[in-house]
Symmetry: D2
Subunit: 94 residues, 4 copies
């Protein structure tokens, strides 16, 4: 299955300027080797289920080191046989 997932994760105990934390999360995603794309409300990744979920867990563990409250939303669209889903989904509706 091609798994496309959009992750939004941030601390709730660090005030309203959370970009330093999002930057660290983005670093984790970057080093995962997954295809990804940042947007103003989250980061979209694509890969196999286990690779995507391991990356999500690594992002959580990164924030867990110094955050006492973390909020996260994850949205997943998995489809058998799809290739280059991040590109093809956008191309199909534009």
């Amino acid at each position: 299955m091609s798994v496309i997932a959009e992750l939004s994760i941030f601390p709730m105990d660090k005030g309203d300027s959370v970009s330093p934390y999002v930057k660290r999360v983005l670093g984790v995603i970057r080093s995962s080797g997954l295809m990804f794309q940042l947007n103003p409300m989250g980061t979209v990744m694509e890969g196999e289920w286990d690779d995507v979920m391991n990356t999500v867990s690594a992002c959580y563990r990164e924030l867990e080191t110094d955050c006492d409250r973390i909020y996260m939303t994850l949205k997943v669209d998995a489809r058998r046989g799809r290739e280059y889903g991040m590109l093809s989904k956008v191309a199909a509706v534009e």
Copy 2:
């Protein structure tokens, strides 16, 4: 307040190829005049609360004409005094 919202909306009663419906939703967003940006998991818009929510309602009404079951997720980040939020949020973490 600068309201940034990511909308994902699709019918559940039309099989697994929902791109014709997403295309119609995108047309509604395009004609709203709001700044928007499409990604593989949704469409991000920015504007005043009422303008954003009226656009969300127009998207729902578009699908309601011929869909009997509709699923929608909306994620909102509102911040006082922010300008060009869709650009500045991404720039702050890259």
Copy 3:
């Protein structure tokens, strides 16, 4: 259409104890007259589209009075001809 919506809304600029704000939001939902049900991650409401969305807007306006950053997620399942959806959906899977 029977519109079932789950709302989660909280300030991001008030530290990690947001329950006083959630309490005020719940007061707004209570006074809407909609059927609703609180759970640990949000509040589920049911009604016509306009009534549900007007209530969501009233919740946002309540927090906007004294919050400078607000995060919200809304999940909607709309189905034509469904009655007592909040009850029937749970009954169908238990």
Copy 4:
């Protein structure tokens, strides 16, 4: 950390009556041993991060056996030192 997660997962290729699939997912959650609570828009669970995420993966694997397209949303609230979070969060706002 106490991790509270709300999972919504369903096939997109099986028409608009997805309750048989949700029933199977609920069976997986039930057999996980985690504390959980069903609501009309999802199922809320509480536990350690790894236990919750392993359960989410087991739910996905259950549907992957016979579904070709799967949609999932996951919302997580993690807080250090919290106990009986599913109960205490609701009690704090009622």
